[in-house]
């Protein structure tokens, strides 16, 4: 190397050293900065392409549409953090909505009906957790089975017919507003905050990340892995139930075919947000941004009259890009 090259190299080294020291913690966090930027750029792009995108109504629209995703994706985040996966999201959500609708039709108090739906999805989640943690079935298979079973039960108990016409008090959860803020949005924020707190500050959450990072080490350090799995999937189930609340309230109907394919959205939002499918690293904040990105994409593409199948293609590409960038970043 020439003198000049050596000097330049030393200058680059010093710069790299400074960057390395400053960003050393960044190497350890899901790269939230990157996806926030991506969201902003996406918003900018659609604003440029469509005159109606950046209107209050539309933005509120996006927030409401992302609310359900945020809620169920938070549940998925907890499962994925434990190095598991949950394919039963959509089916459990449908079943939970049906429980709520059936009890509403039987004129039980609204609060109780919601509770029944939430308890139902929580218990189904607990069964998932039991299969994974105690019977030791791999999460993919266990939740795949539950997906089929829950969906079948949904069709059976409704006789394959949707349940329409729910009381106004119930619908408020989906269509109401508190001040300028839509209720689903508030629910989503609360769920996200609680999800974050669970992962960061509770025993269950720390155990979840430990199990996802190294299950054997967690077990040998005294974590009751079987019991933890039950809690993890039960919490996820609860989240899906809250998602069911929002969807059923907004649609004013519970139908057995509801939620088909939602598991993909939930997982996609989590992965885009930086939660690693290998477990051990998770960010609820990232999941929120991931959900917003998905909702923005759908909304923007619809405004641009892009056909639904092309929308699906675009979203698929975005997911691959997100995982690809994640791999590069962690090299």
């Amino acid at each position: 190397m020439t003198e000049k090259q050596i000097t330049q190299q030393k200058a680059t080294d010093k710069h790299k050293e400074e960057l390395a020291d400053r960003s050393k913690w960044a190497f350890q966090l899901p790269q939230s900065a990157g996806i926030v930027l991506a969201l902003i750029l996406l918003g900018g792009l659609f604003t440029f392409l469509s005159p109606v995108f950046m209107s209050t109504t539309n933005i509120v629209n996006i927030l409401v549409q992302s609310s359900m995703t945020i809620v169920i994706a938070t549940g998925a985040t907890i499962v994925i953090a434990s190095a598991g996966i949950d394919l039963s999201v959509g089916s459990v959500l449908a079943l939970s909505g049906i429980f709520m609708a059936m009890t509403l039709k039987a004129e039980w108090p609204v609060g109780l009906c919601i509770l029944v739906g939430l308890l139902g999805s929580l218990l189904i989640g607990a069964v998932n957790g039991w299969m994974v943690g105690k019977v030791k079935i791999t999460p993919f298979i266990a939740t795949l089975a539950m997906m089929s079973v829950a969906r079948a039960v949904a069709y059976i108990i409704t006789d394959a017919r949707p349940i329409y016409g729910l009381p106004a008090a119930f619908r408020y959860s989906g269509t109401g507003k508190i001040g300028p803020v839509p209720v689903p949005g508030l629910i989503a924020i609360v769920v996200a905050i609680i999800g974050h707190l669970i992962l960061e500050r509770t025993r269950a959450g720390r155990n979840t990340l430990a199990i996802g990072g190294n299950e054997e080490a967690a077990r040998l350090s005294g974590v009751n892995v079987g019991r933890a799995q039950i809690i993890i999937y039960a919490l996820a189930g609860l989240a899906y139930g809250i998602g069911a609340l929002i969807m059923t309230a907004r649609m004013n109907a519970a139908e057995p075919m509801a939620g088909s394919g939602l598991e993909m959205d939930a997982i996609a939002a989590a992965v885009i947000g930086g939660t690693s499918l290998a477990g051990g690293v998770a960010s609820v904040f990232g999941t929120v941004i991931g959900s917003l990105i998905l909702a923005t994409l759908r909304n923007g593409l619809t405004l641009l009259s892009v056909q639904p199948y092309f929308q699906q293609l675009t979203i698929g590409i975005v997911i691959v890009a997100a995982v690809f960038l994640d791999k590069i970043r962690s090299r």
Binding site: R201, T202, N214, G222, V223
Partner: protein, 497 residues
Amino acid sequence: MTTSEPILRMTAITKRFPGIKALDDVDFSLHAGEIHALLGANGAGKSTLMKILCGSLKADSGEIAMEGRTLTFEEPADAISAGISYVPQELMLAPTLSAARNILLGQEPLRFKALGVIDEKALKAQAQEVLDRLGMHIAINRPVQEHAVSTQQMIAIATALFRDSRILVLDEPTSSLSEAEIERLFAISRKLRDEGHAIVFISHHLDEVFRIADRLTVLRDGVFQGVFTVGETTQDDVVALMVGRRMDAAESYTHEIREDDVALRVSHLSSDGVVDISFEVHRGEVLGIFGQVGSGRTETLRAIFGADRPERGEIDILGERVSIRSPQDAIFQGMGFITEDRKRQGLVLEMSIGDNISLGNYEPVMTRGLVNPRARNHVASTYQKDLQIKMQDPNQWVKYLSGGNQQKVILAKWLNRHSKILLMDEPTKGIDVGAKQEFYALINALAEQGVAILMVSSELNEVMMLSDRILVMKDGRINGEFIPESGMEEAILAKAL
């Protein structure tokens, strides 16, 4: 025998990771026809330097030149094409494939090139040829996982040889080998050296290094300390360079033990690999368990700790019969277990030091029902001081610590549980000299505080120095019991073989 012109020259290599400078302006050169040992404590930069040489990492600055030509490697395949082969400590073999398939992996002779059908006959012939060169006679069609670890090691070397690599890097090749197997490895290495290959030999075992190497390079904390011809330096000098100070002569530790103060009693324990084991450990005693790999030592500890279910056996703690059916039960009874494989069983690598110390044990750091990050970090800092853990910050992932410091984090985890009975499986394996000494002092301090320690080790010196009593295990049984005194080494070893 070395030629005077280096075939490999690495100059001014520098490499940084977040928060750590792994290599600082390091030079390394290799001659054809030599065995060159690369020495240094854990974290000194040996593996990093070799990973750069073999193409799996890129240096931040510096140059690699082979026979005068500067080379850049974008990925390991480039290094392999240049004639450099790396045999890592965790042998990178496909366990279910045969030896022949492994040796020619990626370069299988093909019939009908377009279809990619492998020419089995040519494959076996070529594999056999390489193995013959090494003087090895093994079944080349059995899956490699069915061979002994030492044979697997040879197969890994054969893979490197098949590529006709001029430079072979062997990373800790002897850690799982018996004495006879080490001798065979050395014989093969010498043969390769005499044929003109250059071998880089990374090892912690100085006596082996001094037996086999022609020259050696010492690194410390990422800085080049010097290159020496083996005949012109001593082990003590090298250790001083590795550690930065002279080591004190080893002293042996003993403790006052009351015969009736039994902390742990194991009766007729049997499980897979353990046959009818019975013994006692007293409070404040260090009971060493010595034996060869596969003698049932780890299985014994795991059965006691509830990590595996034993077929038979009773455990008494402080005189009371207890039932241990899971690690949780064992921990509840006051036991702790420092496992043999810290990365796979002891730590969650991508979690912070603070999290690892509090793993599964959150009560001490919870306020108002929630885990308090500040309390958790405070706990970590306390252990950092007490155990002298070299780290930047309690939020740092343990992945970035050296082996010795990782082991200290694991010890801190059990100390935080106030374990009364500590089971340790090869606690100083893969740890540098300085950290080993610190660990010995810690183990001794714990025994003096009344902790009962059950320590498995395959290093005779270590076991003799630390233990009040030694049990020798062989083939799943206890084959001998000793109160260690100098001069007993051969007797103890005999009982283990």
